[in-house]
């Protein structure tokens, strides 16, 4: 039953590319200042680069289906 979910890293990379480094950024005291939460941004940037690099070695996704709708 524990069949591994097929890796669709392109989708994940596209999603992370959207949500990690874009969007409204709020600075100031209202944000919980756990050091880890500040670090998340820096870490994610590095991780994203790593994922993208690994994707380039993998198969290219054909033209996405949304384009026709």
């Amino acid at each position: 039953m524990a069949e591994p979910v097929p890796m669709r890293a392109n989708d994940l990379v596209d999603l992370l590319d959207r949500v990690v480094d874009r969007g409204v950024v709020v600075n100031g005291d209202v944000i919980i200042s756990l050091a880890d939460i500040d670090l998340i941004r820096l870490d994610l940037r590095l991780l994203l680069t790593a994922v993208q690099r690994s994707m380039q070695a993998g198969p290219q996704r054909p033209v996405p289906g949304e384009g026709s709708g």
């Binding site: 959207r18 005291d29 944000i31 919980i32 991780l47 994922v51 949304e66």
Partner: protein, 273 residues
């Protein structure tokens, strides 16, 4: 990173819960009930809700701070990992609101301590956020990337020449051939650059605004904010360009539709150009 980090986190540690902020929207009735989100998106007891004030509202849900710490502790990104789950949940909730009204998505991992902090956040937003909300209303975001279809098709000058044996004795001929190859490569680059610029321009004309990011290994990494009424034209144009670009060894990748992730802050703070 501020010098007060440790002091503050120590003070706020006892709660171990915060409010995860998904998006800024207007103070309107939204259906954020679990029925529109799958169970895997929303853990029990953390159904998103609105916190409203001054005509704007935040889409929030409770979150255990441990969840965030798990994410930051991850060594690598995997499909089933904490980061992927958080990102999917973020996107799912943003989309539920986005399908009903104009939203400005927050950056992933934005957490405030409590409702009062959320209201403070709202109070600090105001006019800029209102302006951006009115810009993105009725729009969706589309991502377009252009990249070389393959690195092996571009190296005309490095191809072994069939005539290398015959020309081995002639330095002049070799140099002429080499120069011609370099000129051809330069021409090809110029053509590609022009096609990339033309594609960007054509898609920009069909969108309300666009953002280009540092290209990296791509020829173009752009996001366009497209009015829903013009999406048909936008996508048709992209399709037309795709064919032409493909003939020149350039791959066009399009993603979307997205909530306006790339247009949630003033443009001068977002893009590189």
């Amino acid at each position: 990173m501020t010098s007060g980090t440790h002091e503050r986190s120590a003070r706020e540690a006892p709660s171990r819960h915060g409010l995860y902020v998904y998006a800024v929207t207007e103070e309107v009735d939204l259906d954020l009930s679990g029925s529109r989100l799958s169970d895997s998106d929303i853990p029990a007891g953390t159904v998103p809700r609105l916190i409203a004030g001054t005509g704007l509202a935040l889409v929030v849900s409770d979150i255990a701070l441990d969840t965030l710490q798990e994410v930051t502790a991850e060594e690598e990104v995997t499909e089933g990992g904490g980061l992927a789950r958080l990102a999917r949940r973020h996107d799912a909730v943003v989309r539920v609101a986005f399908e009903q009204t104009a939203v400005l998505p927050m950056r992933l991992g934005t957490v405030v301590a409590d409702e009062r902090a959320a209201l403070d956040l709202l109070a600090g937003l105001d006019e800029t956020a209102r302006g951006l909300l009115s810009t993105v209303r009725g729009h969706r975001e589309w991502g377009v990337r252009l990249r070389l279809a393959s690195t092996t098709t571009g190296g005309g000058d490095s191809r072994p020449s069939r005539f290398s044996g015959a020309t081995a004795g002639s330095g002049t001929e070799y140099l002429a051939r080499r120069r011609a190859a370099l000129t051809a490569a330069a021409d090809r680059d110029r053509t590609r650059r022009a096609m990339v610029a033309a594609t960007d321009e054509a898609l920009s004309l069909l969108s309300t605004c666009g953002v280009r990011r540092a290209a990296g290994d791509t020829l173009l990494d752009a996001a366009y904010l497209v009015a829903m009424a013009r999406e048909g034209n936008f996508l048709a144009e992209a399709q037309r360009r795709e064919t032409k670009l493909g003939a020149n060894g350039i791959l066009l990748e399009i993603t979307g539709p997205w909530p306006p992730y790339s247009f949630a802050r003033p443009l001068r703070e977002v893009g590189d150009g």
